[in-house]
Symmetry: D2
Subunit: 186 residues, 4 copies
């Protein structure tokens, strides 16, 4: 049986920042990943969200522009036996021509507008779009585009977390915004 809820230390990691456990799990939760979902992961980074989503039952397409990221996704895909479709390239030009019911944006390469246009066509009605943001400017552009493209049930969450290290010290993580919306227009 494939185990879900992968811990950070079980991923093979490089120098690319990886979405940590708490944010990864919250993202999976807001995407409401179910068995049989088709998830597009744009800016997949190390692929940690792709891998977890696959272990939770989704069929995943991951796109990432950095060679190091691609290499890590492939390594983790093999380790966890997740059979992810991995594409090296930039959004929107390298995005696949098939439809999805879930989409996660971890990195946009400054092309959020074009990605939303792509999703107008390829994200299914009722599909969930979720993004994680560490800068206010990307956050704002994403929220504005969700409204412009008439997504519904928009939620914006700010998560500031900290964990206790081995010495008992509480270590703060960077604050992250998790935003989601449901696509209603066709």
């Amino acid at each position: 049986m494939k185990m879900k809820w992968i811990r950070d230390e079980d991923f093979i990691r490089g120098n690319i920042p990886m979405t940590k456990f708490n944010i990864r799990i919250l993202t999976i939760g807001h995407l409401a990943i179910e068995e049989g979902d088709r998830l597009l992961d744009i800016g997949a980074g190390t692929g940690s969200i792709s891998i977890e989503a696959a272990l939770q039952g989704a069929k995943v397409w991951a796109i990432e522009r950095e060679e190091e990221g691609i290499s890590l996704i492939k390594t983790n895909d093999k380790k966890f036996n997740t059979n992810i479709n991995i594409t090296k390239g930039c959004a929107p030009e390298s995005l696949p021509y098939n439809s999805f019911n879930k989409c996660f944006i971890g990195g946009s390469g400054g092309k959020l507008k074009e990605i939303f246009q792509y999703l107008d066509e390829y994200l299914e009605k009722g599909g969930i779009l979720c993004g994680n943001f560490i800068t206010l400017s990307n956050l704002n552009e994403f929220m504005a585009l969700l409204k412009k493209h008439e997504y519904k049930d928009i939620e914006t969450h700010l998560i500031q977390s900290a964990y206790m290290d081995r010495t008992g010290l509480m270590k703060g993580e960077n604050p992250i915004y998790i935003v989601k919306g449901v696509k209603l227009n066709d």
Copy 2:
């Protein structure tokens, strides 16, 4: 098919405080709920964690001392068709005499010591114990007991979250500590 990742507004709620979505999902994640798990939920409150865990595939035993909580758990159990074993009573005296591989403590009624003694017997080796804490005194007692009873892989997370309301205002939630440990002793 049973849908997972229940939203707060889909639970039938009373006046008892309910663990909100983000904390509920993080708790499920730290408990690493898998199909076939047997989860004991001590101080189940409104039962939102019990319900979500059941929808994620666990067999759940929920214990709660408040009549209103029991009533809500039963109502939600029926609504979501989760078939939870519900017991009205206090820990440890009303805890069941069967073993579990996962245990969540949402409320202890001041009996954490006795609950740990119970778990020495009824939580399986390798089982995960997780608690949510909103007071520092309960948090500290729990962490001390995890060490005393030689739990391993102890993690302590502080989560401060906020969400955007309909007017655009960011509303802060109360900070919550999520603590987990893995039982190694028999």
Copy 3:
């Protein structure tokens, strides 16, 4: 002697939300209030920042559009003997025609652009402008205007705080952004 560092419970308060102690003190700190400063407080609300700044040695002009706010500022001004210049009205049309070396914006009434134009004339070179924001849209507009008007030493702080109530429960406050910049253009 006038006592500084007024506690929340010592202000006479109405139904208008008051900037709480921690945020008030951080704001005074980022404004770097010194004896002899001339501070313009735009959208003064209950006047708690005006009062504290005055007790710290500033000469203060407070502008507020709500009658209830004006009444509270007057009452607190009398209680703390701070001799604040209080104007009922909206920014920018009711702003005074004298120059300041510090300016705090607690509320803009949607007129941030016009307020920045006013400050181009009336905030002195080297003067500090500071704002508190509870919505991302106002925060973003303020940051964009700071850049457009070529403010320097811009800092943006996100503060999420919580306090322990009498029962030991940690209660979360709403997250607040404190932003400051130093005016260099004349």
Copy 4:
């Protein structure tokens, strides 16, 4: 004139962690530093709180056990012309035999009990004791001692802050607990 509200970058810093601006100013605020206060700073570290308190008008005694800290305090004391009494040594044995009306504890060297006994004698009635804590164990011991020694008006604040770096990324700071109490017993 001595300028208050020193920015982090204006302190001469070494390898010792320095209390950052926001926490330093909140601490000064909770200590309610007024002209003429006599402040004892136990575990002064880099002396940033001692220096700021002195610039705000307090007469300051700083005690620190690390040579590097002592050296930094002396350097900053000279830079800011604050005339602080600096003692190299451990609490409680190196604490001075004069009374204070304010006391800050930044580091206790595991001797909180003994420090409280010392303060029973040397902190004046009505004096304010404030501590900053980054570990839950020290926090809890401090809170327990405040109660045992019958301090009043006890407040516990949790501060999680983040700041925007030059690239627009929000960077989280470690969460810090600021606790204060007022001494009523003689």
